[in-house]
């Protein structure tokens, strides 16, 4: 029986008599009861618009122009406002991308989770609370009895996303629409949220529509995949078929964008040469600095790294690990508490104002969010002209010529120079951002999550551009990311940060195979594989509770990862600070385990996951 039937759906933007644009061009698909369907595509492909039309909703400025949407036999588009309200009360629920924006910070979580049921008078308050607690339990939230009494800012982002799902599921809807619910989360958080969603959807037998741009995530969640591009369906098939035997060129392009090109052998480390950037024993943080020179909130502790000329260093970590602060300290935007930063062997002053113009010029920073990194009231030409004039005194025709060269370098058309940032797409803005950094002719570019806000395809193009610029201009990068595959694609050396500590440092190859630091291991294993069943297999293998750990000793330099470490040792991790160990790969890690022990544990686990995945696959096929 078909739960959802969408036929010939058309959505347009703009109202007559002005010219209208078709955002969704005649889309058909059906979803059986209890099935999970994924809508996948780049931004602008119309996937969110289609998802919203299942609720009978079109965003401001858009209108549903034709076609039919039937949910459980009811024609959603034929309903009036009251009918749609009733539909949203009982039949269809929506889980949005940004949970933090979806919760009211002034009310408790329980109030908000039970609100849909109470608003539509479906349950008594006591029954709604009971139902909410059982959903919290099903979604594997910590302390399900009491978490409802907290306020949204008192729980983590991943927990908030699960709470949002609880809010959607409280009315027992027949259909749930998930709109990119894990896109804003770290990899380690993402798999926990995904596992919780998967479990709940399966247990309740809910029909779900899962919107995402990430094929690997979709592979874990969906039974069927609909690939969208420019508002039209490119491919519609079972998950196995779409991943293994894609019928459409566009699907193949999407799959290819996930596989980053091999960046070639890493540059041989020049042994004796002075590195371009060297950081020694760096401590930094925010807040009031006490008598010992230690700030109130310590973000970075004793971080050391070096970037040889012309090479790229990847800095990996979850949000809150201090990676952005590291870039800001190097750029001089945040003052360091202790430690040294040397550029070409010359110490850099801690404060911005003490640096020389040449030191400013040689370090440029490129931020994650291209929307806020460009001044919206200036044209691209103005934005690019400023560093040329500021550092090199270029004006007039010479500046114009250099600007065209730069635009050509980042593969943007010259006509863009007269536009303002508001008229550019995300990928174009990020290219302008890079061009602005290049205009200074820097030696080192600090790239802070430059591809995280972009689609897979657009992000891959930016990565290619970065690699090309490095070959042609010989610039060095400090490449900050939470995504291991992008770091692998572009960097020679890798540093893994956890809680401000540098837990592992080595060449790119250290990410390829065990042994690695337990935290690096967690990061590597948390990246979803492009195989259905991987998530279940991984949960089955790693679902065991963490080994017990006694109270911690009053030592500051204890391993920061001990609270989450799956291989922690009571009596060592909570008592003595770990020592630096050198692995056979040449990497340095901070851990109590011996190399052989780590290798044995991690290899065994990877094998188990792979075997279990294969088993589920065979069962499915």
């Amino acid at each position: 029986m078909n739960m959802i039937e969408v036929a010939g759906l058309r959505v347009v933007a703009g109202a007559a008599p002005e010219p209208v644009v078709e955002i969704v061009k005649g889309v058909d698909f059906t979803v059986k009861k209890g099935e999970v369907l994924a809508l996948i595509g780049e931004s602008g492909s119309g996937k969110t618009t289609i998802a919203l039309s299942l609720l009978g909703h079109a965003r401001d400025g858009c209108a549903i122009a034709g076609g039919s949407v039937k949910i459980g036999g009811t024609d959603v588009l034929a309903l009036d406002e009251r009918g749609r309200r009733a539909l949203r009360a009982r039949t269809v629920a929506y889980v949005a991308q940004s949970a933090s924006a979806g919760f009211n910070p002034a009310r408790t979580i329980m109030d908000q989770v039970t609100e849909p049921a109470l608003l539509h008078k479906l349950m008594s308050p006591a029954a709604a609370r009971e139902k909410a607690v059982s959903l919290f339990r099903a979604l594997a939230l910590p302390s399900p009895e009491t978490i409802g009494a907290r306020y949204p800012h008192q729980v983590s982002g991943g927990q908030l996303q699960r709470l949002m799902a609880a809010m959607a599921l409280i009315t027992d809807p027949a259909v749930v629409v998930f709109d990119e619910p894990t896109t804003a989360l770290d990899v380690t958080t993402q798999i926990e949220v995904l596992a919780a969603f998967r479990k709940v959807v399966r247990e309740l037998g809910t029909t779900a529509v899962y919107v995402s741009h990430d094929l690997a995530v979709v592979a874990q969640m969906a039974d069927r995949i609909v690939v969208l591009n420019n508002g039209a369906v490119r491919e519609n098939g079972t998950t196995l078929q779409v991943l293994d035997a894609p019928a459409d060129d566009y699907t193949r392009a999407l799959l290819a964008a996930r596989r980053h090109p091999d960046p070639g052998p890493p540059a041989a480390p020049p042994a004796a040469e002075v590195p371009l950037l060297e950081v020694r024993g760096l401590n930094a943080g925010y807040g009031r600095v006490d008598a010992n020179g230690v700030p109130a909130v310590r973000v970075l502790e004793d971080v050391s790294l070096r970037i040889p000329r012309g090479s790229a260093l990847g800095v990996i970590g979850e949000s809150g690990s201090g990676k952005t602060t590291l870039a800001r300290v190097v750029a001089g935007l945040v003052e360091r508490a202790r430690g040294e930063v040397l550029l070409d062997g010359v110490p850099l002053p801690a404060t911005l104002s003490a640096r020389t113009p040449d030191q400013y010029r040689r370090i440029q920073i490129v931020f994650q969010n291209a929307d806020t990194a460009l001044n919206p009231s200036r044209t691209i030409a103005d934005i690019l002209a400023r560093p040329m004039c500021f550092y090199h005194g270029l004006r007039g025709a010479a500046a114009q010529k250099r600007m065209l060269e730069l635009l050509d370098l980042v593969k943007l058309p010259a006509s863009i120079a007269k536009r303002q940032p508001g008229g550019l797409s995300g990928g174009q803005k990020q290219r302008v951002n890079l061009a602005r950094a290049l205009a200074a002719e820097p030696a080192l570019i600090l790239c802070d999550e430059v591809t995280s806000a972009l689609d897979t395809v657009v992000g891959a193009a930016i990565l290619d551009l970065l690699a090309e610029l490095r070959r042609e201009l010989g610039v060095s990068y400090m490449f900050i990311s939470h995504d291991i595959s992008t770091v692998r694609a572009i960097c020679d050396d890798v540093v893994v940060l956890y809680g401000g500590q540098c837990v592992e440092a080595g060449q790119r190859d250290v990410l390829e195979a065990p042994p690695y630091h337990p935290y690096t291991g967690l990061l590597v294993d948390s990246v979803p594989a492009l195989q259905p069943g991987w998530l279940d297999a991984r949960r089955a293998v790693t679902g065991t509770p963490l080994p017990p750990l006694g109270p911690s000793a009053e030592v500051r330099e204890l391993c920061a990862f001990r609270a989450r470490c799956p291989v922690r040792i009571d009596g060592a991790c909570n008592v003595t600070p770990p020592a630096i160990k050198r692995l056979p790969t040449g990497a340095q890690i901070l851990c109590h385990h011996s190399t052989a022990e780590l290798e044995r544990l991690q290899t065994a686990q990877a094998l188990q996951v792979a075997e279990a995945t294969q088993a589920t696959r065979r069962a499915a096929a």
Partner: protein, 318 residues
């Protein structure tokens, strides 16, 4: 990560339509550079981005600004001349707005008074908003201790009730045009400072300002190029509000007899002079009050539509 939910719809719109179906703000901003945009006069462009109510407001404001400049030239009688024996006279051909308590032509009095009301208020508002914005920007971009000092000074100023301050200062130094401007400006600088500082502090945390700082730009450049252009819209709306408040403050002072001194009169003093005619419903007391009301309503209509527009452009940009 925080991809705006509406971005692709908006992009599609821009990409598909020609310059006409973009919002007026883009047309205005792009006009000097964008070849396909038809050249339009500044007034047409301003008119194009206002709603009907905003256009009414604009018309009223332009009308009163015009009157402030040419009022004395077109007035039928000299401002202070006694032209009739009838006091509190009603509407007539010779005196379209009647006569006041001395038998002077009310139309001429209002026309002469416009330059005081509008001129004084405009000068005081320019001073208040200009100084407030300058110090607000300074506090946002300068080192923290300067911000602290400035903020505390303006906090102290803001804690004094503005009308009482004005009364005390004028009682002490006497009433003159420069003194009125100074007092009105002084009363409204702290508010402008607070608003511009909070706008600028928000902008300072944005990444393009961080990039400029990391580039080694000076404070003046950051304030002038990176911050000021992006806060000018709300500051203009604030300018309009402040103008209205100052008109009311000056009219209030004049009503108390501390404003513009006879025989000159602004609208506030005209109301006070002729308060005796209130019982008879004389136009002499109604007309200046109507003038004050239309100016304040007109300015409010104008800035409301400016602000709504500015807000939308701001939200769309994020």
């Amino acid at each position: 990560m925080n991809r705006p939910a509406t971005s692709h719809a908006a992009t599609v719109l821009y990409a598909a339509g020609d310059s006409e179906d973009r919002t007026a703000a883009e047309v205005v901003k792009d006009a000097p550079n964008d070849a396909p945009t038809p050249p339009r006069s500044p007034l047409r462009r301003l008119a194009g981005r206002l709603s009907v109510l905003g256009l009414i407001g604009l018309a009223i404001v332009v009308f009163w600004l015009g009157v402030a400049f040419i009022g004395p030239l077109v007035a039928p009688y000299k401002g202070g001349a006694i032209t009739s024996t009838e006091i509190f006279g009603s509407y007539s051909a010779a005196h379209p707005l009647g006569t006041d308590f001395l038998g002077r032509d009310m139309l001429s009095r209002v026309l002469y008074g416009t330059q005081y009301t509008v001129g004084l208020a405009l000068a005081a508002t320019l001073l208040a908003s200009g100084i407030g914005t300058f110090f607000g920007l300074l506090a946002a971009v300068a080192p923290r201790w300067i911000d602290e000092v400035l903020s505390r000074i303006f906090d102290a100023l803001i804690s004094i009730p503005s009308k009482v301050l004005a009364l005390v200062v004028i009682a002490a130094f006497g009433s003159s045009v420069p003194m009125l401007i100074t007092v009105a400006a002084l009363a409204y600088i702290p508010g402008a400072f607070r608003i511009s500082r909070s706008l600028a502090v928000n902008l300072m945390t944005l990444e393009y300002v961080q990039v400029a700082r990391a580039r080694g730009e000076g404070l003046f450049y950051i304030a002038r190029v990176e911050v000021l252009p992006n806060m000018i819209h709300p500051m203009l709306a604030d300018f309009g509000l402040r103008f209205v408040f100052i008109v009311l403050l000056l009219s209030g002072l004049s009503f108390l007899g501390l404003g513009v001194q006879p025989p000159d009169a602004d609208w506030g003093s005209l109301v006070r002079e002729n308060i005796g005619g209130l019982a008879e419903g004389a136009p002499a007391v109604l007309m200046p009050a109507v003038a004050i009301a239309t100016l304040t309503v007109g300015v409010n209509l104008l800035i409301d539509s400016l602000r709504r527009h500015g807000g939308r452009a701001h939200g769309g940009g994020k």
